[in-house]
């Protein structure tokens, strides 16, 4: 299991050091600093073995978090734990920075004591932790016996992510379908790979211990329900350019509140939600993706000192919808000496420090087209190596789900309290963003 956990600043100074196992000596802290943080070349692996001691590290801005062990631990678990540790810290004191860590080091030690025991991760749900790690030490003494046992049963219990007795005057929930669409396209416009990775993020303000049921246009479910289900939906399809009623989900993963065995057997998503913000599910689709934009590059080398670049972007969704925050990034060679850009829409600038032309458009409606052309002057070099031509990348945000996913229902049942599904105010929003959206040129 995890033998110790260290946090360093960018210089390699130790900010936090907690050793859980006797086989980890004091020199382990230094070994990591010398061999990884101060190593001259780029990090070649997130797992490093130094003198039969293994170090796992992740970086958050310029802070290094390293877990160390001498055993054959579950490596996936160690990384999941490190990410979780970051989440917990963020939930307690915001951004992970040297400043924040120094100011909260007592809290961090307290957390580390609680969420890792002898190197075994324990309950790390912020909701549960916040009930008893409060930074107000004295307060815990004032808990009544009932409160104490409530805390412990939440920390160890089946529903570790929610406490009893939550009350809201207005029962409300917000559902965000956030998708990032990823594309790799050849210069000829052939889709080399495309997938959508989506998340369903919820904010729930519900009283009691509500039982929720979430439904979407999952092909397997729709097909199972037969015609009744599909006709119901067909009238409502209104998003994007898609007319399809159901989508094939390649794979999905759920927050630990979802009953996985029920999903496996009936494909129904039922759960008791945590209070507040959380991510209900993640999913991935690869079939019938709506690619919101098409990038058509044209690069011509004129002699050895000049490049002509023309890039056309076409929006491919309903004309009534608006895409926002569009940004096209056209890489330029390292020996660029000057750039002249002409674009019909938006603003374009050559950024020498980033070796790219950045073209920004605030808004663009569906089924439109826009173009940029640039002349790039090059310095003559004797570098034999050809310019690698990195792909043209794009960023945008569209108000629909490129996968075609639609929320069919989210039902709330709370038998003990007197509010029904109809009383809950529900909001649904779809946002499609670019993930890695690249076209080779």
């Amino acid at each position: 299991m995890i033998g110790g956990l260290f946090i360093y600043n960018h210089k390699g100074e130790v900010l936090i050091s907690r050793v859980y196992r006797d086989d980890i000596g004091r020199n382990a802290v230094d070994a990591f600093r010398v061999n990884v943080i101060h190593a001259r070349q780029q990090v070649r692996s997130p797992v490093t073995n130094i003198a039969r001691t293994s170090f796992f590290h992740v970086k958050r801005s310029n802070i290094w978090l390293a877990a160390v062990t001498k055993q054959n631990v579950n490596a996936a678990m160690v990384f999941e734990f490190l990410y979780k540790m970051c989440d917990v810290m963020t939930a307690y004191f915001g951004k992970i920075s040297e400043e924040n860590i120094k100011n909260n080091f007592v809290l961090i030690y307290e957390l580390l004591d609680e969420i890792l025991d002898f190197g075994y991760p324990q309950n790390s749900e912020t909701g549960a932790l916040k009930t008893f790690i409060t930074q107000q030490g004295i307060k815990s003494q004032h808990h009544t016996k009932e409160e104490q046992s409530q805390i412990t049963s939440q920390v160890t219990g089946q529903i570790g992510w929610r406490r009893e007795g939550i009350k809201y005057r207005r029962n409300e929930l917000f559902l965000d379908v956030l998708e990032s669409v990823n594309l790799l396209m050849s210069p000829q416009g052939q889709v080399l790979s495309a997938h959508v990775s989506g998340r369903v993020v919820m904010k729930s303000y519900l009283s009691g211990m509500p039982e929720c049921k979430f439904g979407m246009n999952d092909k397997i479910v729709i097909d199972k329900q037969g015609k009744g289900g599909t006709t119901d939906d067909s009238g409502k399809s209104e998003l994007g350019g898609s007319g399809k009623q159901s989508i094939a989900i390649d794979d999905c993963t759920f927050h630990q509140c979802v009953r996985l065995s029920k999903f496996d057997s009936e494909r129904s998503i039922s759960f008791i939600p945590p209070d507040g913000d959380y991510e209900l599910m993640r999913y991935r689709t690869t079939k019938d993706i709506i690619l919101p934009f098409r990038v058509i590059p044209l690069v011509r080398e004129v002699g050895r000192t000049k490049l002509e670049v023309k890039v056309v972007i076409k929006s491919n969704f309903k004309p009534s919808l608006l895409a926002q925050k569009i940004e096209v990034r056209i890489p330029t060679p390292l020996n660029t000496s000057g750039v002249q850009v002409i674009c019909m829409k938006g603003k374009a600038k050559y950024k020498a420090s980033e070796n790219a032309i950045v073209w920004k458009i605030k808004r663009m409606a569906g089924m439109k087209e826009s173009q940029i052309s640039a002349e790039i002057e090059l310095l003559p070099t004797n570098d034999k190596k050809k310019w690698a031509r990195p792909p043209i990348s794009m960023n945008f945000e569209v108000p629909f789900a490129p996968s075609g996913l639609k929320v069919r229902y989210l039902k709330v049942f709370e038998s003990k309290l007197n509010y029904s599904d109809h009383d809950v105010i529900k909001w649904v929003r779809y946002i499609g963003r670019s993930g890695i959206y690249e076209t080779r040129c």
Partner: protein
């Protein structure tokens, strides 16, 4: 929050004094701030142990936060101040009784972390209570505490009966208690490999599976990892567990998913392949594995390392998912390299066009390692997918045109392999390669280029010039290049003997006279003599047809792969090494292995039975690279046509001997047992086996100072018995190194026939057939006199004993050591190489009587300077005499040497009886057999 974070430049004496004062302050707030400062200093590595008593004084507080800080301090310094740590015991014990479960748990958790004997003693009672506490939070903490205590004092844990209490917790009503108990028990069980601590039976498994649905994500990992060690009784149980584990594949936590994959991969082994469920399960595995690739980079890396294993074990799972492994521009380098590896493994005729297009794209990237690997990958594709070879070659040529130095070098290395795989197909590109000769500065690329020039010397007009240019800086080259250059020039000479005589002379003298490298010298001498004695033979040897290379070379060896599959998700799967390779001590050293498929009758076997290591020292395994292998590769593996059936599957060795060697082996065993050499001759004679018999008495062995005459006298003695000493079988080839085939064996001489007794054991999962054996050229021309007869297929875990008659008619090459024998064994899976050593006595013939005149004449033929005399001391023969042996020796012409030596052996010009009995006797006396061998080898070496 207002306190100072202490930098690195503090904890001076003054500072400590100041802190001391603050710690002893009456004000609670001030105290707390002081403790915080102490912890801050501790973090940056300052020694604040001097404050121990002052900090411990702050322990008695109702402020939980302060208490936790003091505990943190205690955990750090208690070990260095054991006497003072006792001061804390009372508080701990008291806290363990506190009404607040959080405080009870905190106390027991902290006590377990203090590795001081006296504190440990006091821990037992509170721990016992906490294990049965009414609050689940306390119980789950106590469960882990048992593991802590076990780490400090294992005996104490056993004596106090904590293990049984821990086992009871597996049935606890709270899922987290169950999970922690499982984690603790698994850890303890790991350090007691043979204990039945984690007594997994269908009932406990059922409890674990129930808890799996309810506990935290971490608990699910503990439980799944524990489940993976279970061995289901039959395929039905295996299926039902799989059914209950599959829902975990949808968990958001990647570690839960990977651990579930591990359980499924393992238990799938037991399911019959025709079962519908088997197919369903295979389909269910792909999507979650692909989803892992959308996780954070570090997890992607772990996932990719595991997918690499899974793809090797079950390629069908991900065969349609090639695209997801395409490299993204922004992937960290470690993710890129791993993806590339998997792309090659998944490459097939169906997707090769796409793959090649990608690889070409990657070859223009920035990172040198990545580009190199991409170029190499193109070569591997050519070898793997025959249809694509042409396209690969043209892609490589395009890359060579870029003139990027490392791309060119890498391309040339892989083109060499392509030539090996498809001889006489792509030689048209040689001209392009030759253009880049000057830019090659890496040994591997230079060696590859030289190989190409040598191999195709007849088609390259200026091959001699090219090679000559390399020769100029011969001594500055690395060994790899030197060896390759030597061979290439010899090849050139054999192809164009007229123009290149000078060149070959030059390289031979450079290699043999001016080099300090024994490998190079040896190879030089071999070529030299080969060329000077028999150019035709030289041609046959040097220009022999080479066997084709296959794409399997980079696969992980199957036994290791199986073990790694059992470690999916763990560090072992990241390093691709068994845990024993990087974990110290006893932990994790057990080998895990996959269960056997239902029906093979092995399913009941427990998983932790490791592969039994060989009891004797393993034989020298031929290194996988270098010239040795090259020489072996030149061998033709087709078995000779003589048939000598001699196989009895699963026979005991004794019985085997009887059949193989006749009655005379009885003599051998009785001799070995009785240890009475004097008595044996009569027995041998009595049995009438062959011409056998020992010297009438060892007393007649040469006496001190007897000189040559004495030696000769022995000729009048009787020959040795045919069944001489047979060494017990030793393991020559480890299953780990030979995809599951284990070979042990020994040599014997029975009825005048040399025999190699082999035991072949199948430790792999599949049936082995089509065995064949071949020897490399060796010092005495040992060669199989017939094919190895393995008549029935060798099913898993079966052993077959084979006796292989050997002749001495094979090709001769001096080996180092002299009695070294390199063997290649082929079966339906692969070809394996190993080397073993035979006792020289094996070669001594029984009827070595020689006419006195002939002997003396032969003796005189040998120049005097080849004669050496020495005394063997401290060897006591039966008679107790100290004998002087004149172990002569022979010969002027090195290349003829071994033949003559062999002749001498057969004519018993050597006093073989004496040597053999000497050898034998020293064995009985537990003298050094090795030493004797060395003497013989030495006397041969002076030839």
């Amino acid at each position: 929050m207002t306190f100072l974070y202490l930098g690195h430049n503090c904890a001076t004496l003054g500072e400590i004094f100041e802190l001391k004062a603050e710690l002893n302050s009456d004000k609670k707030e001030k105290k707390k701030e002081a403790v915080k400062k102490v912890i801050a200093s501790m973090t940056v590595g300052k020694d604040v142990s001097a404050l121990f008593p002052d900090v411990v004084n702050c322990m008695q507080t109702d402020n939980l936060e302060l208490k936790k800080l003091v505990y943190l301090y205690l955990m750090n310094y208690a070990k260095s101040q054991p006497d003072m740590a006792i001061m804390a015991v009372n508080t701990f014990v008291k806290d363990c009784e506190d009404p607040n479960p959080l405080i009870r748990a905190l106390a027991v958790r902290t006590m377990g972390c203090i590795r001081v004997d006296k504190i440990t003693e006091y821990l037992c009672e509170p721990l016992r209570k906490c294990l049965k506490d009414e609050d689940p939070y306390v119980r789950k903490t106590a469960a882990v505490c048992v593991a802590k205590l076990h780490d400090i004092n294992a005996q104490l844990v056993e004596d106090q009966g904590f293990l049984d209490t821990l086992k009871d917790l597996i049935s606890d009503s709270n899922p987290m208690v169950v999970a922690n108990a499982v984690a603790a028990l698994s850890e303890i069980a790991e350090s007691h490999p043979n204990s039945n601590l984690l007594d997994l039976n269908p009932q406990t498994i059922n409890k674990l599976l129930t808890a799996l649905n309810e506990c935290t994500e971490w608990g699910q990992i503990f439980i799944l990892d524990c489940l993976a060690n279970y061995m289901p009784r039959d395929d039905r149980e295996s299926q039902s567990i799989c059914e209950r584990v599959t829902p975990r594949l949808s968990h958001a936590n990647s570690a839960v998913v990977l651990s579930a994959v591990k359980v499924l991969m393992k238990f799938m082994e037991m399911l019959p392949k025709d079962l519908d469920y088997y197919g369903t399960l295979l389909k269910k595995l792909a999507p979650p594995l692909v989803t892992l690739l959308s996780a954070e980079a570090e997890l992607q890396y772990v996932a990719l390392r595991n997918i690499n294993l899974i793809v090797q074990k079950r390629p069908e799972i991900l065969k349609h998912e090639m695209k997801v492994f395409f490299v993204k521009y922004n992937d960290p380098i470690y993710v890129k390299l791993e993806k590339l590896d998997i792309m090659i493994r998944l490459a097939s005729q169906a997707n090769i066009a796409q793959v090649l297009a990608e690889l070409k794209e990657y070859a223009t990237e920035v990172d040198v390692d990545f580009v190199r690997k991409a170029v190499r990958a193109i070569g591997r594709c050519a070898i793997k997918v025959e249809q694509s070879a042409e396209r690969c070659v043209s892609t490589l040529l395009d890359l060579i045109q870029t003139k990027v130095n490392y791309v060119v070098q890498e391309a040339i290395v892989v083109i060499k392999d392509i030539f090996r795989k498809y001889p006489n197909k792509y030689e048209s590109v040689i001209a392009t390669l030759c253009e880049n000769l000057d830019s090659l500065d890496e040994p591997e690329a230079r060696a590859a280029m030289i190989w190409i020039v040598g191999e195709y010397a007849e088609r390259i007009d200026n091959a001699d010039e090219l090679l000559e240019s390399f020769l100029e800086g011969f001594h500055d080259e690395s060994t790899q290049v030197q060896l390759q250059l030597l061979t290439a020039i010899v090849k050139l000479f054999l192809k164009k003997p007229t123009e290149t005589q000078e060149l070959v002379q030059q390289v031979l003298s450079l290699a043999t006279q001016d080099s300090d490298n024994p490998d190079l010298r040896d190879r030089g001498y071999i070529y030299w003599r080969l060329l000077s004695t028999d150019p035709v033979a030289a041609k046959e040897v040097v220009l022999a047809e080479k066997p084709l290379i296959s794409e399997e070379t980079d696969l992980i060896e199957p036994t290791l792969l199986e073990e790694l599959i059992c470690h999916i998700g763990t560090l072992a799967s990241v390093y691709h090494k068994p845990p024993s390779a990087f974990v110290e001590g006893s932990r994790g050293v057990q080998h895990k292995r996959l269960p056997a498929r239902a029906g093979s009758g092995e399913s009941a076997e427990s998983p932790d039975v490791g592969h039994s290591g060989p009891s004797e020292a393993p034989p020298a395994v031929i290194p996988s690279q270098g010239d040795l292998l090259g020489d072996l590769l030149n061998l033709d593996l087709a078995p000779p046509t003589v048939t000598v059936p001699s196989v009895q599957p699963s026979m005991q060795m004794g019985a085997m001997d009887l059949l193989g060697g006749g009655l005379d082996s009885l003599v051998c065993s009785s001799r070995a047992l009785g240890g009475d050499i004097g008595g044996s001759p009569s027995m041998g004679a009595g049995l009438g086996a062959a011409p056998a018999a020992m010297p009438a008495s060892l007393g007649s062995a040469p006496t001190v100072g007897g000189g040559l005459g004495d030696l000769f006298d022995l000729g009048g003695g009787v020959g040795m018995p045919t069944g001489s000493y047979v060494a017990p079988k030793t393991v020559w080839l480890l299953a780990m190194k030979a995809k599951g085939l284990e070979i042990s064996g020994t040599f014997a001489r029975r009825g005048g026939i040399i025999q190699m007794d082999l035991s072949l054991t199948n430790k792999a999962m599949s049936v082995m057939t089509d065995f064949a054996i071949q020897f490399n050229r060796n010092s005495f021309g040992l060669a199989p006199a017939g094919p190895m007869q393995v008549l029935t297929p060798l099913s898993p875990n079966q052993t077959i004993d084979v006796s292989l008659p050997l002749s001495m008619s094979g090709p001769v090459m001096k080996m180092e050591p002299l009695n070294n024998l390199q063997v290649a064994v082929k079966n339906n899976i692969d070809v394996f190489y190993f080397s073993c050593q035979y006792p020289l006595s094996l070669l001594f013939v029984e009827d070595g009587k020689m006419d006195r005149q002939v002997f003396l004449a032969t003796w005189k033929d040998i120049p005097n300077d080849n004669e050496a005399q020495f005394q063997i001391k401290d060897i006591h023969l039966n008679s107790g005499n100290r004998n002087k042996y004149v172990l002569d020796r022979v010969l002027q012409n090195y290349s003829k040497k071994t033949n003559v030596f062999r002749d001498c052996m057969q004519k018993q010009m050597y006093d073989s009886t004496s040597v053999d009995s000497l050898v034998h006797d020293s064995l009985l006396l537990k003298g050094s057999y090795d030493a004797i061998l060395k003497i013989i080898i030495w006397c041969n070496r002076i030839c």
